[in-house]
């Protein structure tokens, strides 16, 4: 198997509404994603991050350009790509356990792989909450359930759209560690979207900086800091300064939310 799991080649995605307002959500995006890496897209809101993840997931199609998964063009959804949507999207009518088991059940693999459900509930630390419904658990727990639900199908790539966006910083740090642990466990390639610079540096092997209007790739940075990473370390801080500078330069007007 090739070292490149996903090839994005010259992808354009333009939205136009009835009044002929045209938004160039993605402009000429090209990128190769390496097998097993942790890749993060960072950028202000509106620079096309969600649009790109939806294209990779197969929920949307580009106007031009190609997305190749293991050399084959992506066409529609498939279980080799897991997708954790921005708000988690748990099914409110299913318990934690049934949410996690959903992928196995719809594919008729549940009877054979029941043990996986138990394993994932344990991995995300939700023992004892199997029978709870989504509205009965905290936001952090719900996100962990959403991640486990996507991982149960053993996807080649896990797509995460701001999974920690709405959480407090303690819960956030907790889930970040959990993500690294789950990545080690499953070996999946992870593609994360975030607008938190610290989160990007803490987790990623590579960081892709995006800029809006039109959405394009500004820079790709390697993060060469060994794990476990220390958020106050010298290299960490230097990298952070570098990214903040690029983000400020990258957007027309400085966005206060990045000057954390």
């Amino acid at each position: 198997m090739s070292d490149i799991v996903l090839e994005i080649a010259g992808v354009n995605r333009i939205y136009s509404d009835d009044k002929e307002n045209v938004v160039e959500a993605l402009h000429d995006i090209s990128l190769s994603v390496r097998r097993g890496e942790f890749l993060t897209f960072i950028g202000s809101s509106g620079c096309g991050k969600t649009t790109l993840l939806r294209l990779i997931a197969g929920l949307d199609e580009p106007q031009s350009g190609k997305l190749l998964l293991d050399g084959k063009e992506i066409c529609g959804t498939d279980t080799n790509r897991g997708y954790v949507v921005q708000q988690g999207g748990l099914f409110p009518w299913l318990s934690v356990r049934d949410n996690i088991a959903y992928g196995l059940k719809v594919r008729g693999l549940y009877q054979k792989n029941k043990a996986d459900v138990v394993k994932y509930i344990g991995l995300i630390g939700l023992d004892g909450f199997e029978k709870s419904y989504p509205h009965q658990i905290s936001g952090g727990m719900a996100q962990r359930v959403a991640i486990a639900r996507a991982l149960i199908n053993n996807p080649e790539i896990l797509l995460l759209d701001e999974p920690m966006g709405a959480l407090d910083s303690f819960t956030r740090a907790d889930i970040q560690d959990k993500l690294l642990e789950l990545k080690g466990e499953s070996g999946a390639t992870m593609i994360l979207v975030t607008h938190d610079v610290d989160e990007a540096i803490y987790l990623s092997d590579r960081i892709v900086i995006m800029t809006p209007r039109p959405g394009r790739i500004n820079d790709v940075l390697n993060v060469a800091i060994p794990h476990p990473r220390h958020r106050g370390g010298v290299e960490f801080m230097a990298m952070r300064r570098d990214i903040l500078e690029k983000l400020n330069l990258a957007s027309a007007q400085p966005q206060p939310e990045y000057t954390i």
Binding site: T77, T79, S95, V106, A150
Partner: protein, 333 residues
């Protein structure tokens, strides 16, 4: 009224109050002399003689035993004790009302007769023709079961199609809306002529009256399913059928139950109306038959059976609904 820290004395007094009304009903029935000339028939049952007064006293005693049993059950939980105490004045009034009714309706015949017989006289129905009453009750139950099943199946089925396929929505929803404003019994002449049996005619009418509420609520529930849930299901490997049965329908379930609850009331009405207008049996038929003979005490008896039957049905539907929607507990309201 305050019910916090309910004292034991208060509870005991409430139990006494609850049964006092029914005790007074028994005493009144036994002690007040029969002033008006009312024919009191005697019936042979279980190797003894019964008349309606004796049956009535047994029934009141039965209610007393029931409430004493409930008191024992309630004693072990604060919440149930409070509820029991809250209901005591009403239950007392119920017993007193029975006693008053007995005096006015049977003992002195002060109410217009034969339209308002006393409570004891109503019970004569069950001494007079118990087998016939049971037969008609079972007919109503059978008709309800058939009509309910047909109405819910058809309503939910078409509701899903209307909610899922825009084309079906376009063609069917105007028809649905029109039938929604027409009371189903208006179709009775057609139903009775065209349906092979009166029974199927009534089932058809019940289906018609249930169609609008059930189908439109179901369609609404399906249509309001969040796009994100469909997308998540797709990425997890769900096919189109699973998007319907494992996303849209579970999401629509609260609305489906809302539609069924609403339709259920219409179905009761349609059931009784069709029985009164051309069924060979049923409680509605029994009411009609009794009316012809001016046996109004039997009309009352049929109404009491209906009330009990429909309450039990509503209770059962409530249990099923709570079970199916338990994921909503604490989510709404």
């Amino acid at each position: 009224m305050k019910y916090k820290n309910l004292s034991a004395l208060r509870f005991v007094l409430s139990v006494a109050l609850t049964i006092a009304g029914f005790v007074s009903a028994i005493i009144v029935n036994a002690a007040v002399p029969q002033a008006a000339a009312v024919k009191i028939n005697r019936y042979e049952y279980f190797g003894g003689t019964l008349d309606f007064n004796i049956l009535y006293r047994y029934a009141a005693a039965g209610i007393i035993i029931l409430y004493l049993g409930l008191a024992v059950f309630a004693y072990f939980s604060e919440e149930r004790r409070v509820n029991y105490v809250k209901r005591a004045p009403f239950r007392f009034a119920l017993g007193v009302a029975l006693a008053l009714w007995d005096i006015l309706g049977t003992k002195y015949l002060l109410l217009p007769q034969p339209f308002f017989p006393g409570p004891a006289a109503i019970l004569e129905t069950f001494l007079n023709e118990p087998a016939f009453v049971l037969e008609n009750t079972l007919y109503s139950l059978k008709l309800y079961a058939a009509g309910f099943t047909a109405g819910v199946t058809f309503g939910v089925g078409t509701g899903i199609l209307i909610g899922w396929f825009p084309r079906v929505y376009y063609w069917v929803s105007p028809v649905l809306k029109i039938t929604g404003v027409i009371p189903a019994v208006a179709w009775m002449p057609f139903a009775l002529t065209l349906a092979p049996t009166p029974f199927t005619a009534a089932v058809f009418l019940m289906t018609m009256c249930a169609w609008f509420p059930i189908a439109s609520f179901t369609a609404q529930g399906v249509q309001s399913t969040a796009k994100v849930h469909f997308e998540v299901a797709k990425t997890l490997g769900a096919n189109t059928a699973q998007l319907v049965f494992r996303v849209a329908i579970p999401h629509a379930l609260p609305q489906i139950f809302g539609g069924i609850s609403m339709a259920n009331g219409f179905m009761f009405t349609t059931l009784v109306m069709s029985e009164m207008m051309g069924q060979p049996g049923g409680l509605g038929y029994y009411i009609q038959l009794s009316r012809v003979w001016s046996a109004y005490y039997k009309v009352f008896a049929a109404i009491i059976i209906m009330a009990a039957l429909f309450s039990i049905i509503l209770y059962i539907i409530g249990i099923v609904q709570n079970r199916a929607l338990r994921w909503q507990k604490g989510l709404v309201k």
